[in-house]
Symmetry: C2
Subunit: 386 residues, 2 copies
């Protein structure tokens, strides 16, 4: 009896299970007799025959699963080589899979592209997008990003109010290895020049600690506080991640060659630099770390809906259009899923467009409009008396 | 024309402006002709005559102010000496103040107690409680705590799901200098032994890095992941804060003698210790830092309501009962404000009761019941397939 196999790869998001549920619902609708199999821990579980029957989930279980953040099937960062791919293809054949829907980022799309090329059967390979980094090519934005961005935007509004109440300098270090979307997102809620984040540093623009301290000085002198959003992945002039430069040799990479950034190390160095330059100021550096990426308390409704639709579209496309990568397209009014060739997404990184920047530490009006369009409406807060 | 003066001191909370608005509304009701003055940046602004007219706020401004986290009037950590207190009393006399309502923690109550003793006039001094640390004596719990606890509880549910999906070790470092309520709060949402936080470390119990690593090992070996909640203020056997022991001399204290903890430093040391003991595990340490204490995205309704009522009761008591500290009393069914003598709260610290602990790294059933009663209902999440 033929089947569709679904798996989740890479880091989680707040809405990654919406995509899983979308795929399940669309597969059921397409062919009620189809087996719907979930692979535990991505391709790793697939090769081991570690599969879950997803067709039997009740409506209420589906609802609960959809609203639960982080990968319900488990995830993996394995990067399959040729042999590993043979095992995956054998496992798909054994499951009589007509389609393999793999929910993940650009590494996941890369795995699917290798499988597609190596496959001699009729199985379709479809990538359903997710990432809080928002760095997938061909997408206006990526499921998972809006919820993470809303977490970060709420954080900066809150900290800004904190530092109005008691002056000082604050740096929030935000995930983002290669693209600064998440650290820049809070700009979408700025209503005046004095709203935080007052400075935004992204991996796309060279970062120097000396320039950063001068930037902070200027804002702090002007308004008595300075709230900064900084990407974990900020890089020096030579393109070397600052965290790597600071870690001095004790650096780890995962199977995909991704640097294992520890925002904590970066934060400690930034804290030291601030204390030296501003010895009398209240200066605090927080690394947001894992908190924004699958936070149960801040799940955006639009994000959830788009993630579900991307999953449903992925399963549907697998049966009707063959292999490809589902992307979110924006036509100027609405967002809707489409499918493109896997190699247009696989292994590539989307950076923030040049037009989103206003110098090296601020976001342009164009950038702010983009983030404002995606974010939910900001709560109507009272401007403090101070 | 006589007045009531209101101010905010110490660190902010998500609902501290509810208390401010409660006091404003109650003062208006008590005597519509009364001047209602807000002091900017606590007693500091008061001595400088830096006052705001709060009587004129429109209903819609009051609504927005109440829902805005962090001190709307600004705050201070000044600890007044005898001369400073003379300036405050002179300022209150100049304002013809019949009441001074000061919203804050135990240091703020301490300032009011000094003022009350030194005062020769008829002004009442009333402390309205707030703190995310939940460490005020005589209170069942303190306004501001529930919202911060809900932030932290949401974080640990989310991270637990993250680490089910990809195994590893996680430590979240949570504010709390002397009391572990906030780091322990997530225990209120635990439904089984395997729910995070698997280990909870509070300042009330001696902490050793060696024991911590053994504790982690046991959990990690048993279930393949270990999620830890740790207070910033954990102390060694000698009662010395670990962050201080690790900082080796470069420690700062504020005017109240409070150690300026940097969770970042503690986090780095914990991260190093984990990497050494578990070189192959995914190990991540995040310092939640300022995020839980005034987060716009997670404001608890009960907390907001109780904070408003505490402020209203404080203003009312100032006119009818004289000086004192407002406390939240729980009778086994309902929570309601009462007033007690200032010296029963001033400068004292409430610790977690012994009965809340089950050994040095777990919370007892009694403790879990307490936190469960306070927290909002946990979202109905799906137990992952892994």
């Amino acid at each position: 009896m033929s089947s569709i196999v679904i798996a989740q790869g890479g880091g989680p998001t707040a809405v990654i299970n919406q995509t899983l549920c979308g795929a399940i619902v669309a597969a059921r609708r397409h062919d009620p007799s189809l087996r719907i199999l979930g692979a535990r821990h991505g391709v790793r579980g697939l090769t081991r025959g570690d599969l879950v029957d997803l067709a039997q989930l009740s409506e209420s279980d589906l609802q609960r699963l959809a609203h639960t953040p982080n990968s319900g099937l488990g995830s993996t960062r394995d990067k399959p080589d040729a042999n590993y791919c043979e095992s995956i293809l054998a496992a798909l054949q054994k499951a009589e899979a007509r389609a393999f829907v793999y929910i993940g980022g650009n590494d996941t799309a890369g795995t699917l592209e290798i499988l597609r090329r190596q496959s001699t059967g009729s199985c379709s390979f479809v990538h359903a997008p997710k990432t809080i980094d928002n760095d997938l090519m061909e997408n206006d934005h990526v499921p998972g990003f809006i919820s993470a961005a809303a977490f970060v935007a709420n954080a900066f509004v809150s900290v800004d109010l904190d530092f109005r109440a008691m002056p000082g300098i604050y740096v929030g270090i935000v995930m983002g290895r290669h693209a600064g979307f998440l650290s820049a997102a809070a700009a979408g809620w700025q209503q005046s020049r004095d709203d935080a984040p007052h400075l935004i540093y992204s991996p796309e623009k060279p970062f120097s600690v000396a320039q950063f301290l001068d930037d902070v000085d200027a804002v702090y002198t002007r308004i008595g506080r300075c709230v900064v959003s900084m990407s974990e992945g900020v890089q020096d002039e030579a393109g070397r991640p600052l965290a790597e430069a600071l870690a001095a040799g004790s650096v780890e990479r995962d199977a995909h060659g991704n640097l294992q950034l520890s925002g904590g190390d970066l934060g400690i160095e930034i804290q030291r630099a601030l204390k030296e330059r501003f010895p009398k100021a209240r200066a605090r550096v927080d690394t947001f770390g894992y908190l924004p990426r699958g936070y149960l308390g801040v799940i955006d409704e639009t994000d959830a809906k788009e993630a579900f639709e991307a999953g449903a579209f992925a399963a549907q496309s697998a049966f009707t259009a063959g292999s490809g990568s589902v992307v979110l397209h924006y036509d100027g009014h609405h967002t809707a899923p489409r499918i493109v060739a896997l190699d247009r997404v696989a292994g590539r990184t989307r950076h923030m467009p040049d037009g989103f920047f206003d110098g090296a530490s601020a976001i342009s009006e164009e950038g702010r409009r983009y983030f404002k369009r995606l974010l939910p409406r900001r709560a109507d807060i009272f401007t403090p008396f101070v």
